[in-house]
Amino acid sequence: MRSLSSAIRLYKHYISINIRSMMQYRTSFFLSAMGQFLVSFNVFLGIFFMFKRFSAVDGFSYSEVLLCYSIVLLEFSLAEMFVRGFDTFSGMVRTGEFDRVLVRPRNEILQVLGSKFELTRIGRMLQAVVMFIYGVARSGVAWTFPKILTVIFMLAGGTAVFSGLFIIYAALCFFTLDGLEFMNIFTDGAREFGKYPVGVYGEKMLLFATFFVPYALIQYYPLLFILGRRTAPFYILLPLAAFWFLIPALALWKLGVRHYTSSGS
């Protein structure tokens, strides 16, 4: 217990260092936050103009799609904000910085987590919150306690799934020394294509997103519950089931750490 509270204290300290150092370059911070905003704003505009032409896709209306996209965007931005250290991990391996992490008497996951805290993702989150409010106001969902709970679980589960993907991405760096570009399909791609409910992409994609990388557990199924298309109460808990994804991710990470040989420098 004591070690846990000391770990939390250390993590808080890491975050405060990160924020303070970022605030030394204030303009750069605001520009990056703006950039984050613009990138996902493009996606939003894409949805907006598509729905000028079409009234629904796969039975989902404009406001329902916005609700879906805003939740995915929030999940992704939260994961990226906290787990960014794993996303940029290839640099740590290549420069040999990870050697220094290993010789410190602290858990290496905690240290990598603390190495980066991307506050700039706030730009994206702001937009997600605005879309979420619009989606909530327009989609005519009758909000009950279970539905609110579902949204909270979605955010938790989604952050876990995307964090798991970032950890896998980092763990693969142990074997390849460099970031693997195709992993972007699972992270950036999921953010981009998560704008529409997974069911839109057809049966096979839904199976993949249920059992392989559990996107559907944090997006499609709970969304159906929120919109009142499914009523069985176990839909509320499905997003939490997505936490299983962290197990193989962390296992791969452990394997990677054991396999690690320094790249020198």
């Binding site: 613009l38 704003f41 103009f49 598509m50 992409y201």
Partner: protein, 267 residues
């Protein structure tokens, strides 16, 4: 002229060395194209009548877009150029007896072309063999195909000369970040990178088609599958030529102004 050509050749050959990176890029772009097509298929199922072009033409558009991504993607800019402006390496370049605008133009064009050459063939090859209407269909006619090649080349140089504007403007702002973010995301959207221009509402589309951004990927990808009629094609090609001249002239002028007042940032 010869020196620019050899500069182009050098950069092009260098670009061809990154084959593993290209492999990863191909996989990514393939998945991306596939997902895009699934989205449009879902919209097509929802309301086929609202589609501004045939579904097969849309698939062709999307596959060509993925295959030639490196020619048109605004975010694939040359970081070395930005770095040389920030850290002062530009001083060496200015000492050389070459025009800096032309040199950077060649360098950019070569980089993009090398990437595209490495990536386009596998994507096109697979896309051709995908079942109809999800794959890359044959071009509307031999004439359309020829015009596709011409407009592809034109659109490519318009894109490069627009990127040149951004490089040159960095001389004035020093930090490229803000300009770059603003321009790349605006360009991506207005050029039809997020959704093809025909999918915009008609009045918005008519306006967008006049902008320089529409002279980039939009023209070639739409001509290929014959979704433009003759006067439309004529207008589009004229606009391409006009924007190429205008943007290049503006870039050259800005570049001359910038070089006259350049401050070397140490280094």
């Amino acid at each position: 002229m010869k020196k620019y050509f050899s500069f182009f050749r050098l950069r092009f050959l260098l670009g061809l060395q990154y084959r593993v990176a290209a492999l990863a890029g191909i996989a990514t772009q393939f998945a991306w194209g596939f997902m895009e097509i699934m989205i449009f298929a879902a919209f097509y199922r929802a309301d086929a009548d609202a589609f501004p072009m045939s579904f097969s033409a849309t698939s062709s558009y999307l596959w060509l877009q993925q295959a030639f991504l490196a020619l048109f993607a605004a975010w694939m800019m040359d970081n070395e150029i930005f770095d040389s402006i920030i850290n002062g390496g530009i001083a060496y370049e200015l000492c050389r007896p070459v025009d800096i605008y032309n040199m950077w133009f060649c360098r950019n064009a070569a980089n993009r072309l090398a990437r595209a050459v490495l990536r386009c063939l596998p994507i096109l090859l697979v896309a051709v063999f995908l079942p109809k209407p999800y794959g890359l269909a044959a071009p509307a006619s031999a004439g359309h195909f020829l015009l596709f090649l011409v407009t592809l080349a034109l659109g490519f140089v318009v894109t490069v000369s627009f990127c040149m504007l951004i490089y040159v403007m960095t001389f004035f702002t020093i930090s490229p970040q803000g300009l770059r973010i603003l321009f790349t995301s605006a360009l991506e959207f207005l050029a039809g990178g997020v959704i093809p221009l025909p999918f915009f509402p008609d009045n918005v589309r008519r306006f967008l088609e006049l902008l320089p951004f529409a002279a980039m990927q939009n023209v070639a990808l739409r001509i290929y599958s014959g979704s433009m009629n003759r006067p439309e094609m004529l207008k589009a090609v004229t606009l391409q030529l006009f924007w190429l001249a205008a943007v290049t002239a503006a870039g050259k002028m800005l570049c001359r102004m910038a070089v006259r007042r350049v401050v070397v940032q140490g280094g």
